[in-house]
């Protein structure tokens, strides 16, 4: 989204006192380790969720509705008597999958467009960058809501909506990095040796630019996930009865005074997942493997 476009996040050079040449081999930043461990935990829970879940996440039992935590139901039950722990274990898929696919597409398109327009210049560059200037200011939630209104909710709609706006900051960053790399002696050497433009882009520019770009992707992951969750929260994302963290919070809101845990637990799940990827992104950008 435009809001983070002006951020110096991933592109900012590390201010480490260690020279860049050595920092590549230096110890990774602690947030990278902590974030990776946390994300591993979340990923494990999401992958093994369906087998780990003690109950069927959609099985209702109205007799046991809104029960506090007990030995049978570790985190209690919701307003339809469904087991909260089981729903938590399977409830991350929608937001995480959409965020991951969106960011992968955004990185691929954004990097290619940015690098090619930096390398080609001229009209291609002009058209691409003006498109970035404009699309980057579109509020992505609003674009998503309109596409949902026209195409109906679902994975495809949300991935399309978030990618339309999402590739732009990556294109801007990739173009900036590519221009910097283009001035390096090894690119000049490759040109003199007669390497094709495609070879230079694929073998020299992209591998050297991918560090800051992937840091940016991780830094944006949490935001994307929270945006998808927001749409699910207001009923424009995943549809019931599928378990989803944000949708669970929306369903639990009327009972918040009686059973605050129903809102706290899914919120904590989203928060921890978002925090883990943000930490990884921060760690990546501070470990500093800039060319």
């Amino acid at each position: 989204m435009a809001l983070e476009a002006a951020l110096p996040d991933a592109a900012a050079p590390s201010r480490s006192p260690v020279s860049p040449r050595h920092s590549r081999f230096s110890r990774p930043h602690w947030t990278l380790v902590a974030g990776a461990l946390l994300l591993l935990l979340v990923a494990l829970a999401l992958c093994l969720g369906p087998t780990l879940a003690p109950y069927d996440p959609t099985a209702q039992a109205l007799i046991r509705r809104l029960k506090p935590p007990s030995e049978a139901h570790w985190l209690g039950t919701d307003h339809l008597g469904r087991d909260v722990l089981s729903r938590l274990l399977v409830g991350g898929h929608f937001a995480v999958v959409i965020a991951a696919v969106t960011l992968t597409l955004s990185v691929v398109f954004g990097t290619l467009i940015g690098v090619i327009s930096a390398r080609k210049g001229g009209l291609v560059d002009e058209v691409a960058m003006r498109a970035v200037d404009l699309l980057i200011s579109f509020p992505e939630v609003v674009v998503a809501i309109f596409l949902v209104a026209l195409l109906g909710p679902g994975y495809g709609t949300l991935i399309l909506a978030l990618t339309i706006v999402g590739w732009t900051p990556f294109a801007r960053l990739a173009r900036g990095l590519a221009i910097e790399i283009n001035a390096k002696p090894y690119i000049r050497a490759a040109e003199i040796l007669g390497c094709s433009r495609r070879f230079i882009i694929l073998r020299h520019i992209i591998p050297n630019a991918i560090g800051p770009i992937s840091a940016m992707a991780f830094l944006r992951f949490g935001h994307k996930m929270i945006t998808v969750g927001g749409l699910s929260y207001i009923g424009l994302g995943i549809q019931p009865p599928h378990a989803d963290w944000a949708a669970m919070m929306a369903e639990a809101q009327p009972y918040i005074e009686r059973a605050p845990l129903l809102v706290v637990c899914p919120g904590l799940a989203i928060f921890l997942t978002a925090l883990s990827v943000t930490w990884i992104g921060q760690g990546l950008s501070q470990t500093g493997d800039k060319p």
Binding site: M1, L7, S137, V142, A149, G229, E257, G267, L275
Partner: protein, 314 residues
């Protein structure tokens, strides 16, 4: 400078044209027949008499070529006339104006609050990068970025409205009802503002004129106040404007949770009720505002910072 302004202006007009065409075509994309949509909205009976449908089509001018229809619609839209809402029967232009005012009030309160906290926080962090204050600020911003607003909002309602009873839980009357939503909306911009202020201040505090001021015996606080803040302000103003554009409509989740009659909720309800005229007007208004603000920010950047004028050739 003028060359750049002209170019951005052209692209701006081109975008507004594309946006208006898309908005105009919205009723054709869904069910395909605008006359049927209007008729369904007016009478509840799902079985529509073909003769009535034909009469309606002629009455609304929907039998004319698409280009003529577009020009007529655009002419009305430029005068602020987007027709009547299918649901509320009120002029869409008026509904939009009211909602926009609410959203701007909410967005400005949240962003000013965020700025008020992030300016000292970011500056403090920048004074000694890697120091204790910096680490604390970094941890805080990472945490705030990862908190969903639809988690903070219900928890805020639970604590301050239901348990303590200090604030209203929802609605839009009086300054008290503004506090919780503004607080919730302020968290994420607060994090981003702090980060950009920190980065800007680190750059500024490295500058020779700061060393000069310090070596002439000016205290650190005064140096930061007099020279630092003023020179580090530009990226912050940019980010502020971009957030303002993003929150008009982008605050939909918070507006829905707190039942605030702003732009986000207006569009949300239009989507739920398939209120086509409101959807069209909302789409045009939000995107146009975002694009215009973005263009103005870019131009202001060039106008204020002469050093960029020549480097912006590409």
């Amino acid at each position: 400078m003028w060359h750049f302004a002209l170019r951005r202006g052209t692209v701006l007009l081109l975008t507004l044209f594309v946006v208006s065409v898309v908005a105009f075509l919205i009723p054709y994309i869904g069910e395909g027949d605008p006359a049927l949509l209007v008729l369904r909205a007016r009478i509840a009976d799902p079985n529509v008499d073909p003769a009535t449908l034909e009469a309606m089509r002629r009455q609304l001018g929907l039998d004319r070529p698409l280009a003529i229809q577009y020009l007529a619609w655009l002419g009305d839209a430029l005068r602020g006339d987007f027709g009547l809402s299918f649901i509320r029967r009120a002029p869409v232009g008026d509904m939009l104006g009211g909602a926009l005012l609410v959203s701007i009030t909410l967005a400005l309160s949240a962003l000013l609050l965020a700025l008020l906290v992030s300016a000292p926080l970011g500056t403090l962090a920048a004074m000694r990068p890697g120091g204790r204050a910096d680490t604390a600020a970094t941890l805080l911003t990472q945490t705030l970025i990862a908190i969903p607003e639809y988690w903070m909002a219900p928890m805020g309602i639970l604590i301050f409205a239901l348990w303590l009873g200090w604030l209203p839980s929802a609605g839009w009357d009086g300054p008290a009802s503004l506090v919780l939503p503004a607080l919730v909306l302020a968290l994420r911009p607060l994090a981003y503002f702090t980060r950009i202020i920190r980065a800007a201040m680190i750059d500024v505090l490295d500058a020779p004129y700061i060393t000069a001021a310090r070596s002439r015996g000016l205290g650190m606080t005064q140096t930061v106040m007099r020279h630092g803040l003023r020179n580090g302000a530009m990226p912050v103003i940019t980010l502020f404007a971009l957030w303002l554009a993003g929150l008009l409509g982008g605050s939909v989740v918070v507006e829905v949770i707190f039942a605030i009659p702003g732009m986000g909720r207006l569009i949300y309800e239009a989507v739920i009720n398939k209120d086509i005229p409101v959807l069209q007007a909302g789409f045009v208004a939000i995107v146009a505002l975002a694009v215009v603000i973005n263009t103005l920010v870019d131009l202001a950047y060039l106008a204020i910072n002469p050093a960029l004028r020549h480097s912006h050739g590409a």
